[in-house]
């Protein structure tokens, strides 16, 4: 596990990944096992339908809690899972370059015969790999739980929803990587990354309700991750492309910015 910067970065995260995985499993299992209780309480659905549209939008926009997809969306995929993935990815992206630099560890690493681009690319690959691992854990947990309580959801659709959330998280993780790579400041990368994520979430939820904001919805990464409801409809290729291309653009920016500047002592 010490063969490359990529392998070392993944290795460094193995313990944290374990805890994140356990947390995700606990959350999803409890959520999924609770489904029969909701399913047998139709009054909830009537209550949701009667909620003002604005309030409903804020809590994920899902009105139908009794269907499998409606339940999973409202409890996991419209907020909780993207949020957790985002926290994980932004934290990792900010720590990867800026965090190491602030602790003075880049000096010795970059005195080895490795280029700065290699460091950025390996770090990005590690970020993507770790997010993919988290996605697989989530998928397995939901899928297994769903089998236990007869929650009818297809593996493919579930994978689409998981992948959507993971792709958006990768975008934000790369944003944090870019900010950290360009400035060397971890807290700035964390703060700006989190602020952009929060703004994106609110924008996606509110835009449909406020005419003036409506066109801006397409600026929100959440729109491309959950807007087309991948749990019901599968992946929307255009939306996936937007997420991936923005990620690639940020990665390119990181490569250029990090290569140009001084490494702090």
């Amino acid at each position: 596990m010490l063969r490359s910067i990529f392998a070392k970065t993944v290795r460094d995260q193995r313990r944290s990944l374990l805890w994140w995985g356990l947390g995700l499993v606990a959350l999803t299992v409890v959520t999924v096992l609770y489904y029969p209780t909701i399913r047998d309480t139709p009054e909830l659905n009537r209550m949701m339908e009667n909620l003002p549209e604005g309030l409903r939008a804020l809590i994920g926009g899902e009105a139908d809690l009794l269907s499998a997809a409606g339940y999973l969306n409202s409890q996991l995929f419209s907020l909780m899972v993207p949020l957790l993935f985002l926290i994980y990815a932004i934290g990792l992206g900010a720590a990867a370059i800026a965090g190491e630099e602030e602790r003075g560890k880049l000096d010795l690493l970059l005195a080895q015969p490795v280029g700065r681009r290699r460091l950025v690319l390996d770090t990005f690959a590690a970020l993507a790999t770790l997010l993919a691992a988290l996605g697989v854990v989530l998928w397995l947990a939901v899928w297994t739980g769903a089998r236990l309580v007869e929650l009818p959801i297809g593996g493919g659709r579930l994978a689409a929803a998981t992948a959507s959330a993971a792709l958006m998280a990768l975008l934000f993780g790369t944003l944090a990587l870019a900010l950290g790579g360009a400035t060397g400041r971890r807290s700035l990368a964390l703060g700006v990354g989190a602020a952009v994520a929060a703004a994106g979430y609110v924008l996606n939820g509110m835009a449909p309700l406020v005419d003036a904001l409506a066109p801006l919805r397409r600026l929100s990464p959440f729109y491309y991750a959950v807007g087309a409801d991948p749990l019901r409809n599968g992946l929307e290729p255009a939306h996936v492309a937007v997420l991936m291309l923005s990620t690639a653009a940020l990665l390119l920016l990181t490569l250029v910015a990090f290569d140009r500047r001084d490494i702090a002592v």
């Binding site: 010490l2 490359s4 560890k105 000096d107 970059l110 005195a111 080895q112 015969p113 001084d262 490494i263």
Partner: protein, 303 residues
């Protein structure tokens, strides 16, 4: 063969603050070069410029004939570096960290790593977080030496090392030199450089104050002499002698600071009864102080 290190007008500004200005330096192959100066003089700035960790704002540098920016990977393959502020991955053991860097380099002989650890008396199996500062420094040293680089760039290499290990370190440097490799080491602990360096440069406030052989610099240095006379001598007997920069005479004791030759002072003293004479070998600390004084005088003249 190209020089180990060559800089031409190399400079670095951090915004408005000067890090290094107009540095012209040439370090030959096979030489041990001491790079001296107090903290903040620009030693670390120079070293980090050579390794492409930071970029110059003026001038240029080549290391082993290579451009740090354009040929950085090749350059760093052939250079061993010890940072002044050593920050290691605390979660790994010393052995794991060295294996990691060896993997990134390729072609490192694990037996050589083990032999170095043996010589420096370092337990590679212990986690780095459990190591003392001196033992962490040993990990850094092994890391710099393990691939037998053509050029070693060591920033304050002996900080935290106990005297025995310092000695072993000096052997490592002299062995590298004997094998024709070059060593560039910075220090503000002057005694260690004095013993192993062929030439030294003195840096002050981001500027080069002097370069020369250790002997040459010492010859210019100020030497302290104490003379015990047989009877009280007049207080002004030694004033204004060539080379004598300081003459304090109290009764039958005199204390002098002399630059260069002590000939004039000795001849003047010979006129009195001299019971004893003590001469302190100048060390580079004194040289340092002289350069500071010279600079201060210059500033006063300028004002």
């Amino acid at each position: 063969m190209t020089a180990a290190i060559r800089t031409e007008g190399l400079g670095k500004r951090y915004g408005r603050r000067l890090g290094l200005a107009d540095l012209d330096l040439e370090v030959e192959r096979g030489e041990v070069f001491g790079y001296l100066g107090p903290n903040g003089a620009g030693k670390t700035t120079t070293i980090r410029l050579l390794l492409d960790l930071i970029r110059p704002t003026a001038g240029r540098a080549t290391v082993l004939g290579l451009d740090p920016r354009a040929q950085g990977i090749e350059l760093r393959r052939r250079v061993g570096y010890l940072p002044g502020e050593l920050a290691l991955d605390e979660r790994l053991t010393g052995g794991e960290l060295l294996r990691y860097f060896a993997n990134l380099r390729g072609g490192v002989d694990p037996h050589h790593v083990a032999a170095l650890a043996e010589r420096l008396d370092l337990d590679l199996g212990r986690p780095i977080r459990a190591l003392s500062k001196g033992n962490k420094q040993k990990v850094g040293l092994i890391q710099a030496f393990m691939h037998r680089p053509e050029l070693l760039i060591l920033d304050e290499p002996t900080s935290g090392l106990d005297p025995l290990v310092q000695q072993e370190f000096q052997h490592l440097v002299l062995e590298a030199k004997a094998e024709g490799r070059s060593v560039f080491l910075s220090s503000h602990v002057l005694a260690e450089v004095e013993r192993i360096a062929d030439r030294v440069a003195i840096l002050r406030g981001g500027r080069l104050a002097a370069v020369g052989g250790v002997g040459e610099i010492k010859a210019k240095a100020r030497r302290r002499l104490e003379i015990q006379f047989g009877q009280p001598v007049p207080a002004d007997a030694f004033a204004g002698l060539p080379g004598v920069r300081e003459a304090v005479v109290a009764g039958d004791r005199g204390s002098f600071a002399v630059e260069g030759s002590v000939d004039a002072l000795i001849k003047a003293a010979a006129g009195c009864a001299v019971l004893s004479l003590t001469s302190h070998e100048p060390d580079l600390e004194e040289v340092f102080l002289d350069y500071y004084r010279a600079e201060n005088r210059g500033e006063r003249h300028a004002a």
